[in-house]
């Protein structure tokens, strides 16, 4: 509790005691009784009255303090001394709660972002110096002890350690690092002493970028937020105007001025829009803060709103749904063992640097005598011809096989096939596919469970491969053999068709597509500045499960923000209606004001979890 909050609490307690004491005194004289009730009233409400006066002097009408002052003074005028004190007392209690709740959520969010390194130990002329991270230049050597935060991005030049990047990526498994490896600022050095040569100044380092992004997120307002701001601007003057009319007009016709004044005062108490003005931005702030804890950076409330509304999820294939590495997935020998076929292929491809050839040699890690391979020739666009153990071996695509008079049976599984033939005899084939990421099926399934009925895959790859990956992941629409420009067109077609597409890519080469989609998600962004710049939502690691997780957070945040809007507005509307009809009292009004604000704040705090 801050000093200000404590002071407020003491005043509240003192006023409560005084109020009870005064209520118990058997005093009949109305003037004396009023004077006695003024004691608790001023104890708890003097600040409010004084602030109201100062605001009026500054030309600020219709603020909370002014409205509360008028309402309570009005109650005194009606002879409702006890109500007047109680309303002021409860208003202060509510304000205190509100201040504590907001302070708490603010601290919680600050804790979520506790990745800012406070200092760096830099080696200068052989001596260790502790400086602030801003003072370290590029190329200097910083010393990081176990348990310390890595202050700047750089490369390890000495020492082995394990790094905890949980604060950045949400991934709690430590990463082993050794000399030559890059380390990212904001992660924590766990086990060993390391020396790191810095690669950027603090302002350009990952931790500064992330903090900047999260802190500025609340300035990109969502539609819901701008609606609330605009609404608040008109709400208070309208309700105050209505209160004035209510106090003046009906008594002219039906009389009973005091009763109508009481109703008007209730209007004043509920005329503050604070519940909305605090709780809606707080919901977004909490949602964005909570997401950042999980390694999901959302650039602003507007982006969060769009992510929650997205109904079509579009994915790039290579590097997003698949690992982008090629792996031998099928070995289909004819007249020899799988082992033999693999060995033959590996030997034939052993001198090639082609990614497909590399995947074949990786699949057969056993050492073999390179002397057995003689006279290797490359047939561009077709494959390889080599002499192995004195026998002529061909390894390549179907065209190469036809060239030597063999018509191989096409394998039934999708992927790139490499056919092998020895001395004119067909030996079988290998099928190579781009490996699907382990968590991709679960991520797509999770999106479908979230009610996303349309998922689209865009790829420059061949149709069969695209179809294979798409089928394995149960993606609803597959667009293959696309040029980069076609991907932008594909997004535009979706938008023209009324969809709200969210595009997920790895941030490399797909900047135009990221820019075109309603909301764009970049994966594997830890260490990639381009992706952070381009996308609306940034997943720090390259796990696809971050996409449904981000959608869930966005939807939950929107749900809570909407709940708050509907709850606050309907309670206020109901109380206004009841007050007009004469069924409401001050107690209900005070609940509609501060009670609703506190409940809405508590609800907003749920977004952080």
């Amino acid at each position: 509790m801050t000093r200000k909050q404590k002071k407020r609490l003491i005043k509240i307690c003192a006023a409560t005691v005084l109020l009870i004491a005064v209520s118990c005194l058997p005093i009949q004289n109305p003037v004396l009784r009023f004077a006695l009730y003024l004691l608790p009233y001023l104890t708890v409400g003097f600040d409010v009255l004084w602030t109201a006066v100062r605001h009026i002097l500054h030309g600020q009408l219709f603020d909370e303090q002014f409205l509360m002052s008028v309402a309570t003074l009005g109650a005194f005028a009606l002879g409702e001394n006890r109500e007047a004190v109680a309303v002021m007392l409860l208003y202060q209690v509510g304000e205190l709660f509100q201040s504590i709740a907001v302070g708490k959520s603010r601290r919680n969010i600050a804790a979520l972002m506790e990745i800012r390194p406070e200092s760096a130990v830099v080696l200068r002329e052989g001596a260790e110096m502790t400086v602030s991270p801003e003072e370290v230049a590029v190329g200097e050597t910083v010393l990081i002890r176990p348990g310390e935060k890595i202050p700047l991005d750089g490369v390890i030049i000495a020492g082995n350690t394990a790094i905890d990047a949980a604060a950045l990526t949400g991934e709690s498994l430590p990463l082993e690092k050794q000399p030559g490896d890059r380390v990212i600022s904001g992660s924590v050095n766990l086990t060993g002493l390391i020396e790191v040569k810095t690669e950027s100044i603090y302002a350009d380092s990952m931790v500064a970028k992330i903090l900047d992004l999260v802190e500025n997120a609340s300035s990109k307002k969502a539609k819901t937020e701008t609606f609330i701001t605009r609404f608040a601007k008109y709400y208070t003057p309208c309700v105050v105007g209505a209160a004035l009319l209510l106090a003046v007009i009906p008594p002219l016709f039906v009389g009973g001025f005091a009763g109508w004044l009481r109703r008007a005062l209730i209007f004043l108490v509920v005329s503050c829009p604070c519940a909305l003005v605090i709780s809606v931005p707080l919901s977004f702030f909490g949602g964005i803060g909570g997401a950042s804890k999980k390694g999901i950076l959302i650039k602003g409330s507007r982006q969060l709103e769009q992510l929650a509304a997205a109904d079509t999820f579009v994915f790039d294939k290579t590097g997003t749904l698949t690992k982008g590495n090629f792996v031998v997935t099928e070995v289909l020998p004819v007249g020899m063992s799988e082992e033999e076929l693999l060995c033959l292929a590996a030997m034939a491809e052993s001198h090639s640097a082609h990614p497909i050839a590399r995947s074949v040699t990786r699949a057969y890690p056993e050492p073999f005598d390179r002397e057995r391979i003689r006279g290797m020739t490359e047939h561009p666009g077709q494959g390889i011809e080599a002499v192995i153990d004195g026998r002529r071996v061909f390894a390549g695509n179907a065209r190469l096989m036809r060239e030597i008079g063999i018509t191989p049976a096409e394998p039934s599984v999708a992927g790139t096939a490499i056919y092998l033939a020895r001395d004119g005899q067909y030996c079988g084939c290998l099928v190579i596919t781009d490996e699907i990421k382990e968590d991709a099926p679960a991520a797509i399934a999770a999106l479908q469970k979230l009610g996303i009925r349309k998922t689209v895959m865009l790829t420059g790859d061949r149709r069969e491969i695209a179809q294979y990956v798409g089928d394995a992941l149960q993606i609803t629409q597959i667009r293959a053999e696309l040029f980069p420009a076609d991907k932008v067109n594909a997004i535009e077609e979706l938008i023209a068709g009324g969809a709200k597409p969210a595009f997920t890519g790895d941030g490399i080469n797909d900047a135009p597509v990221l820019a075109r989609a309603d909301v764009s998600i970049a994966m594997g962004a830890l260490g990639s500045d381009a992706a952070i710049e381009a996308a609306d939502v940034v997943l720090m690691d390259d796990k696809l499960s971050g996409v449904p997780a981000a959608v869930k957070i966005a939807r939950k945040t929107m749900r809570i923000a909407r709940q708050n809007v509907v709850f606050a507005l309907s309670v206020k509307a109901a109380v206004l209606l009841l007050a007009t009809l004469g069924f409401a009292n001050m107690w209900i009004a005070i609940f509609a004001d501060v009670g609703v604000a506190v409940l809405a704040i508590l609800n907003a705090m749920r977004t952080m979890r």
Binding site: T51, S218, S219, P273, C274, P281
Partner: protein, 72 residues
């Protein structure tokens, strides 16, 4: 030029919105925001008149919420 200042004892979200609007109206201000949640004032304004503009902005804040202080 763009600068960020901390604001102390900013107690009401509605006031923060009012301050934002008031500061944006000051001549020479390109963009401004009083953020209730981070308790920060961001001003982007003409370089040559910046100090004067900030002074005016502080005045705006104090007229709306007399208790709050901008830490310059």
């Amino acid at each position: 030029m763009k600068k960020i200042y901390r604001v102390e004892d900013l107690d009401c979200a509605h006031c923060a919105a009012k301050m934002t609007e008031g500061i944006k109206k000051i001549d020479g201000v390109i963009n401004a925001e009083v953020n209730f949640l981070t308790q920060k004032l961001t001003i982007e304004a003409d370089d040559d008149r910046f100090d004067q503009i900030v002074k005016q902005a502080v005045k705006v804040c104090r007229s709306i919420e007399p208790d709050c202080r901008v830490l310059l």
